[in-house]
């Protein structure tokens, strides 16, 4: 019975609850027990029982449990963004996206671990220990939304919220064999998300399949008066139903798949197989050009740290979070607090960003990065005149071993080679599991123009059906 329950997608579970065929309390308890027994270190906080208010079967999400990345503010519940500097911090308010999901009937099961302030591609930058990949516990789950991805893959929660700044939803989805959607910038409110890079951060779903992503996303979108950069989604979000891709034009960017782009052989093979499946569904696959895409990573590692250096200035020990007194004067309190509270990657990016914005360097670094960003967005615009979607492997490789890249930041940054261009352009992109390479999941990424999520989800759904990937918790190692 519990295996059958566990194998229900979130959408199927919600439908069963609404139909009166499933007790939401039973479902919740199943997941709570599994999450409580978590040996992947996926959770930073777990609820201690069913919600006092009970479950409302009439709501669209019907009480189905939800995992939420640590950096979403949840009133009264620890929200630490993976950092010592916020250890034990409980915000007085709840993020808009989480509020919306509550209103739609989602029930918070737990908060999930992440790289500190979402800075990382392996979850090894989490101050509270790394998260393990359920497919192979010696390997990373990806990052920064690694806790959410691992928990969903292992069946510790039916679905979860993540955030994506340069690939932080898509890459862990790829490493964990699940679906991750990074929506159009502005389609979901950022209010209550502890900021990493404000012009790039975007909330999105991590789910077992494309339909679950569509369902969760449909209850996240919408303009929010609390976020001036949010926009009204131009149409209702539909559940995907497309089974073929006839006439759909897929562009394969040469620049991202060149021989020196660092993509593993296994990933390439998986990517080619998926393209063949797409052709079989009627898609037209041809090469396309994104001339500035190879510079995306460089631009990203200026823009994101620059914004982060300001966003993280508020963690100063004055009002909340960690305070280390230092020598008793203000300046030494600031430096002692930040020295003790931030991990090395966060410090590295604060220094990078501070430098890039410094007087005399601003134009050479930040100014240039903004110009590159504009060019990249223009590249996509041009490409979308000829193609419906751009497709790439999500990450250049599969999940790597813990510690394999932690001493080489540049190698770590290269994980985002194929995901960062879409982030800089603000366009939606989805990663779906395309198969296994040496027993580890490989992700396939589709990107579309701004607000094309409905079409994107439809195409991803059609491919998903054709791929037939089995990412069931049992297979992903959730029973181990």
């Amino acid at each position: 019975m519990s295996d059958a329950l566990l194998n229900l997608t979130a959408a199927a579970a919600a439908a069963a609850i609404r139909a009166g065929e499933l007790d939401p309390a039973e479902l919740f308890e199943l997941y709570r027990e599994r999450a409580a027994a978590d040996s992947l270190n996926a959770f930073s906080w777990l609820c201690d029982g069913a919600p006092d208010a009970g479950f409302d079967r009439s709501t669209p999400l019907a009480g189905v449990p939800l995992g939420v990345k640590d950096l979403f503010c949840t009133a009264g519940i620890p929200t630490q963004s993976g950092s010592r500097i916020l250890e034990g911090y409980r915000p007085p308010y709840t993020a808009t996206v989480v509020e919306r999901l509550y209103a739609a009937g989602a029930t918070l099961l737990g908060k999930t671990h992440q790289d500190e302030f979402a800075m990382g591609s392996s979850n090894e930058n989490c101050a509270f220990g790394p998260v393990l990949n359920p497919w192979d516990r010696t390997r990373v789950p990806g990052g920064s939304s690694g806790g959410s991805a691992a928990a969903v893959a292992a069946g510790l929660v039916p679905w979860a919220l993540g955030t994506d700044t340069g690939g932080s939803i898509r890459q862990p989805a790829s490493f964990c064999g699940i679906v991750g959607l990074k929506p159009t910038y502005g389609s979901c409110s950022r209010y209550g998300m502890i900021a990493f890079a404000s012009s790039l951060d975007q909330a999105g779903p991590l789910t077992r399949d494309v339909s679950d992503s569509a369902l969760l996303f449909s209850h996240m979108v919408g303009q929010d008066a609390n976020d001036s950069t949010s926009l009204a989604f131009p149409e209702p979000v539909r559940m995907p139903a497309r089974r073929e891709l006839s006439g759909v034009r897929l562009g394969v960017p040469e620049e991202l798949l060149s021989a020196d782009s660092g993509i593993d052989q296994g990933v390439r093979e998986s990517f080619e197989q998926t393209l063949s499946l797409a052709r079989g569904l009627g898609a037209v696959v041809s090469p396309c050009r994104l001339p500035h895409a190879p510079h995306a990573l460089s631009a990203y590692y200026i823009v994101a740290p620059a914004e982060a250096s300001a966003n993280l200035a508020r963690f100063d020990g004055v009002r909340y979070g960690l305070r280390v007194p230092g020598n008793g004067d203000l300046e030494s309190m600031y430096s002692a607090t930040r020295a003790a509270g931030f991990g090395p990657e966060v410090k590295r990016r604060i220094m990078l960003g501070t430098y890039a914005l410094s007087s005399g360097y601003y134009d050479a670094y930040y100014g240039t990065a903004l110009r590159v960003r504009t060019r990249i967005a223009q590249d996509f615009q041009r490409a979308f005149e000829q193609f419906d979607f751009i497709v790439t492997p999500t990450a250049p490789g599969t999940a790597f071993e813990l510690g394999a890249k932690s001493s080489d930041p540049l190698a770590m940054y290269l994980n985002d080679f194929c995901t960062v261009p879409m982030s800089l352009a603000g366009i939606p992109a989805i990663s779906i599991p395309a198969g296994l390479s040496e027993g580890l999941p490989v992700g396939f990424q589709l990107a579309g123009p701004a607000f094309s999520e409905n079409r994107l989800l439809d195409a991803a759904f059609a491919l998903e059906q054709a791929i037939g990937f089995d990412g069931s918790p049992a297979r992903a190692g959730g029973r181990a």
Partner: protein
């Protein structure tokens, strides 16, 4: 060979921070307050809690546009907020949201001073240093009151068009009057809703190069502004005369000692690392927003002064006196309307200062017991010589006390003018001549200055009810002149 004869010219520019009189803060819904319990007007946003985002206060933008229009500025159709980064406990986000290279208002002019720019930003919170001194040095500890944090500010920056401490003070008064008239701020320097920094340099007279400037802070009254600027001009001039150089630095004005002390150089070595605020979209000012701001602008004090001078013949000084305190201008114009076309506008204007003197210099005459029509009636009585100038002052005093009509008071107190053939004034004049033959002789010899004692005698005898002109006429008549 040193230039003992070189004259130096001060060059002064001002940077004025104005707290806007909105209901709520610049980027959140907390109410503005002054003097409330600490930290009661706060929310996650203005405390800079993680995950919060700013939302621009539309009323503050409206006020920013009104300021720009009142100062003749170009209004930017699209301006940008930036982050100004520095660490301080009064700055909860670690950056101030301000405007940088594209402010809401571009070049303009008020009076003779060009406006460089006006931009919108948020105020910092207030640090309170607990301890005997009340200052940071020697404080036991420092605490932060976030009530003020996030208050909307407009920063107005002038070009260096002022050339003396008095000019600076006078112009700041014109600015304050203008801002008060358009209703965007309380403009109270003591409470900090108007704050003024000055950039001061001196240069040899006739030079078109600017000297090294210093920035003067913390001059929180008009008097302190003039005092600080004057002291700094003297200091710089003395340095240059001694062949030394002015160091570019920021100076803190100490109201207690009247002295300027340099801030530590470390505090000046800021690199603010400005960059566009990614949490806000560009600020777009539409034609409709401009229309609304234009419609709400009253006649500006400088325009009103010009009109009073041009159309009514008031002296420039009197016109400014009335226009720069709108409540006086309003009372004056109401009295003028009540008095009808016969009323002497200049004479009426000259009766405003005596009225102000009697009701208290800061009081609004509209709140006094004297109505505009009663003041107009008094001026009419004087003009028709029914009451002398001197007696009318006593009548005004009684009007302020009782609220009675001037005619009633004149009747009741017997203050009507003495004059005409059957009034007995001629007899009093004759008595004056008889009492002071020396003066009479001098007047007869053509020394009209000697008429004073004679007039004084008559005034004493008539308790001021006689008309000065009539007395002089009678003296001349009786002395056969």
């Amino acid at each position: 060979m040193s230039g003992a004869a070189v004259e130096y010219e001060p060059v002064i520019g001002l940077e004025i921070h104005v707290q806007l009189r909105t209901r709520t803060k610049m980027f959140c819904g907390c109410e503005l307050s002054f003097g409330d319990e600490p930290n009661v007007h706060t929310c996650p946003r203005c405390l800079g809690l993680p995950g919060t985002l700013p939302v621009v206060n539309a009323q503050a933008v409206h006020y920013g546009i009104m300021i720009g229009l009142a100062l003749g500025c170009e209004i930017a159709p699209r301006s940008q907020f930036h982050r100004k980064n520095y660490f301080y406990p009064d700055l909860p986000k670690g950056y101030q949201i301000s405007q940088y290279d594209v402010p809401i208002c571009g070049p303009g002019k008020l009076g003779e001073v060009r406006i460089h720019r006006v931009h919108l930003e948020e105020d910092a919170a207030k640090l309170v240093h607990v301890g005997e001194s009340g200052r940071i040095h020697g404080a036991d500890r420092s605490v932060v009151d976030f009530n003020r944090g996030g208050t909307p500010l407009a920063e107005i920056v002038t070009e260096p068009d002022l050339h003396s401490a008095d000019e600076a003070r006078e112009w700041l008064n014109l600015l304050r009057t203008t801002l008060r008239a358009i209703g965007v701020s309380d403009v109270n320097m003591e409470e900090g809703s108007l704050r003024c920094d000055a950039n001061v340099s001196v240069r040899p007279l006739g030079s078109d190069q600017l000297g090294t400037k210093t920035e003067l802070k913390n001059m929180n009254s008009f008097r302190f502004l003039a005092q600080g600027v004057k002291a700094e001009i003297e200091r710089q001039t003395a340095l240059l005369r001694a062949g030394e150089q002015v160091q570019q630095e920021t100076l803190h004005f100490d109201p207690a000692s009247g002295r300027l002390t340099p801030l530590r150089s470390k505090e000046q070595a800021h690199d603010y690392r400005y960059f566009p605020e990614p949490d806000l979209v560009p600020l777009v000012v539409t034609e409709a927003m401009l229309e609304r701001a234009r419609a709400e602008l009253p006649e500006l004090p400088a325009d009103r002064a010009a009109r009073l001078e041009r159309d009514l013949g008031l002296s420039g000084e009197r016109a400014r006196e009335l226009a720069f305190r709108p409540e006086l201008g309003d009372f004056y114009e109401a009295a003028l309307a009540a008095g009808g076309p016969q009323l002497d506008a200049v004479a009426l204007a000259n009766w405003i200062p005596p009225l102000v003197e009697r009701i208290g210099s800061d009081a609004d005459p509209a709140g006094s017991r004297v109505s505009p029509s009663a003041l107009a009636a008094l001026v009419a009585l004087v003009s028709s010589r029914a009451v002398s100038q001197t007696a009318a002052r006593d009548v005004l005093t009684l009007m302020v006390q009782s609220g009675d009509q001037p005619a009633t008071i004149v009747e009741r107190e017997g203050l009507g003018a003495i004059g005409g053939d059957d009034s007995g004034l001629a007899q009093v004049v004759a008595a004056a001549i008889a009492a002071d033959p020396d003066a009479a002789e001098k007047v007869r010899d053509g020394n009209m200055k000697a008429v004073g004692p004679l007039v004084g005698y008559v005034m004493r005898e008539t308790k001021g009810r006689a008309d000065g002109g009539e007395i002089t006429r009678l003296i001349r008549e009786q002395l056969g002149l």
